[in-house]
Subunit: 252 residues, 2 copies
Amino acid sequence: MSHQTVISIESIRIACRNCTLSSLCLPMGLAPEDVERLDGIIRRTRPLRRGDRPFQEGERFRSLFVVKTGSLKTFAATRDGSEQVLGFHLPGELIGLDGIDKGVHACTASALETSAICEIPFGQLEELTALIPSLQHQMYRLLSKEIGHDTDMLLVLGKKTAEERLAAFLLDFSQRLHRRGLSATDFYLSMSRHEIGNYLGLAVETVSRLFTRFQDDGLVHVERKHIRLLDLGALEAIANGQGPCRHQQQQR
Amino acid sequence: MSHQTVISIESIRIACRNCTLSSLCLPMGLAPEDVERLDGIIRRTRPLRRGDRPFQEGERFRSLFVVKTGSLKTFAATRDGSEQVLGFHLPGELIGLDGIDKGVHACTASALETSAICEIPFGQLEELTALIPSLQHQMYRLLSKEIGHDTDMLLVLGKKTAEERLAAFLLDFSQRLHRRGLSATDFYLSMSRHEIGNYLGLAVETVSRLFTRFQDDGLVHVERKHIRLLDLGALEAIANGQGPCRHQQQQR
DNA sequence: CCTCGTTTTTGATCTGGATCAAGGGTTTCT
DNA sequence: AGAAACCCTTGATCCAGATCAAAAACGAGG
């Protein structure tokens, strides 16, 4: 029995490490001793409960964070009091990158559900990336990927209709889950309709109506926050503006 | 006379180097010998004419580019044929960062007017940043700054009215010019109304009407593409949603 | 099991900005 | 200079999605 316990703890530890490090080193095939060094600077943090904030807008920037389990959102406040949701973050994803430039966090992160994250002190990570070229390259790629995701969102917010936005959102979620080996068609949306609307630049009511519409059209099955995508092809067509009800889009 | 020519070429070279390198090393106070090494990998390229494209969406990513003079836009095509302007780029600014992740450019860059740029082969830059910690740090900062600018735009496109968007756009331009030591209140908009609208998620007609309105209200003086900002305070108030005609903004 | 607060849904109405239309300006090419 | 191709502006109309309103569904705490 104690033997079993030891095995169990060890396997958890390995699982945990893999999950934490995967976004940093998996795509590169980092050498084992370098993985060890990277692992050395990563700090376990206490588990987060819904609403807990690993960092806050305006706070001094010290570390990046990796989502281990659960999910978080990031958001920034506007001058006039409202807030803009900037992103939702799933296991394996890195957050806090926007604080590097000014040394101050540019947004607040908040757990959407019970979650676990790891902290990576950025100063130590910088020292390490200077020594390990492939890790440096991976950091550049991660920062660039973030830029790419942001510009995708610019396109969504700048040009797409409400219908296209929600379809694109669901597909983005689906793909990110798939990349982590989770189901791409059947998942849990930990954020509220309000937060989805805020993220997509839509009113709550519009989001709710669209879910109903998508369900009526047989594209998805919605039950509270559990979503099942029934027709990925049709969703893609909608997200790309080739959906059924598109009278040819004028280039604004 | 030949003496004068030599001086002139040398001063141009210095001016050019300063301008090219400023975004990479000015904020850090890089050591002179490191500036020399960085300068060594920077390639002069032929001058661009309006419409020339230093790189194109889908093309293999090899280099970053620094704007020396003039201005460029970057844009990406949507599946349905239209395009989204992702940014306008002024002297001293770095473009091409979104290609690092996938090794392929994610957008196209196009000169808005006669412009000069420099090319920085990214492979060589990576080697250099691994050797020069402060340069590596500066690269992280530049990538992070880009993320910050993108998230600012997400906020603009997600939450702001047409009026607020144009005011924010003019102020952003003003600040970026100011940072390069140019006039913050009196400048030339090298892009068309159409391109401004595309960037801000607005129709051309709306942009045109807003310029007229701002001029009528005494906020700016517009003469074709020459703009003079007359009341920065009022523009900021508008950009922040505290403008005159704001019935308190509901948090969507 | 009930109560109170929050979230979601549905319906009715309103509006900011898109779209359509058309005239005058400016640049480019021949 | 003449013409073809944009670019910018202004006016009139329209509509996707916001806003307002209110009922239903949930969920946490007692």
